[in-house]
Amino acid sequence: MKVAILKLRGILLTSIPIDMNDEDAMAFQADVLRMLSDTEATGLVIDITAMNVVDSYMARVINDTAVQAGMLGAQVVLCGMQPDVALTLIEMGRELIGVETALNLDQAFNRLETMIEEREA
């Protein structure tokens, strides 16, 4: 199952599906990086609205993807985390998500635009 990655005004937008398995996750990571490199996008939004489980493996994939995207010069914002997922992640261990986060897509784009402006200033 391929995850769609859309480009909107220099920003890549992707939404992780509910039942993503481990192989899909690795393919997703590679696709995002390839597309960042190909499109020269300066920002990446990872939406996880659909995910009702984020375990330590998926948390690591998300973190790694964000760090790798940063290495390619992109600013990254994660958005749409469900309240129950946030609760569970903190109960499991504090350091699970080390990415910039926003409540929803709207706020993620605002945040990302500010981050990109600050970087370019």
């Binding site: 039942d19 375990d55 493996y57 469900q82 129950d84 609760l87 569970t88 499991m92």
Partner: protein
């Protein structure tokens, strides 16, 4: 007593196992936070079985009685086993390059966490308790 067995062979079985647990939890009236805790714990345990043993089995049982809703999950494999169980339960300990939050995290998400491991057999059990609705 409802009883469901999920064979663990590939990573899509992890998704199937946690969905089965979430469904049972929802059916028994557990709230969405507990459903998520249980599904996440099961996701960690079933992934460990596949990652370290290649395959395993996950059994979910409704053990509810009178006033209390109880779900028991057992994940079992015949892999190499965990050399140092105490160490494996420490936050930040990992042999796989992960975050080391898996097992230690699971223990904090569920009730009655029991882990027994020897070479050739690892069995992890946890329970989720709630008020019956």
């Amino acid at each position: 007593m409802t009883h469901k067995q999920i064979k663990l062979k590939q990573s899509s079985d992890i998704v199937a196992a946690r969905q089965a647990c979430r469904e049972m939890a929802r059916g028994l009236g557990f709230g969405s936070a507990d459903q998520t805790r249980l599904a996440t714990a099961v996701s960690e345990l079933t992934r460990n079985a596949i990652q370290y043993a290649g395959e395993g089995v996950c059994v979910v049982t409704d053990e509810s009685e009178n006033e209390t809703a109880v779900i028991r999950v057992v994940v079992e494999d015949h892999g190499p086993g965990i050399a140092d169980v105490d160490k494996a339960l420490e936050l930040g300990f990992t042999t796989s390059g992960g975050l080391g939050a898996g097992l230690s995290g699971v223990r904090r998400l569920a009730h009655d966490f029991v882990l027994n491991s020897e070479p050739g057999h690892t069995i992890v059990q946890l329970k989720m308790l709630g008020k019956k609705r």
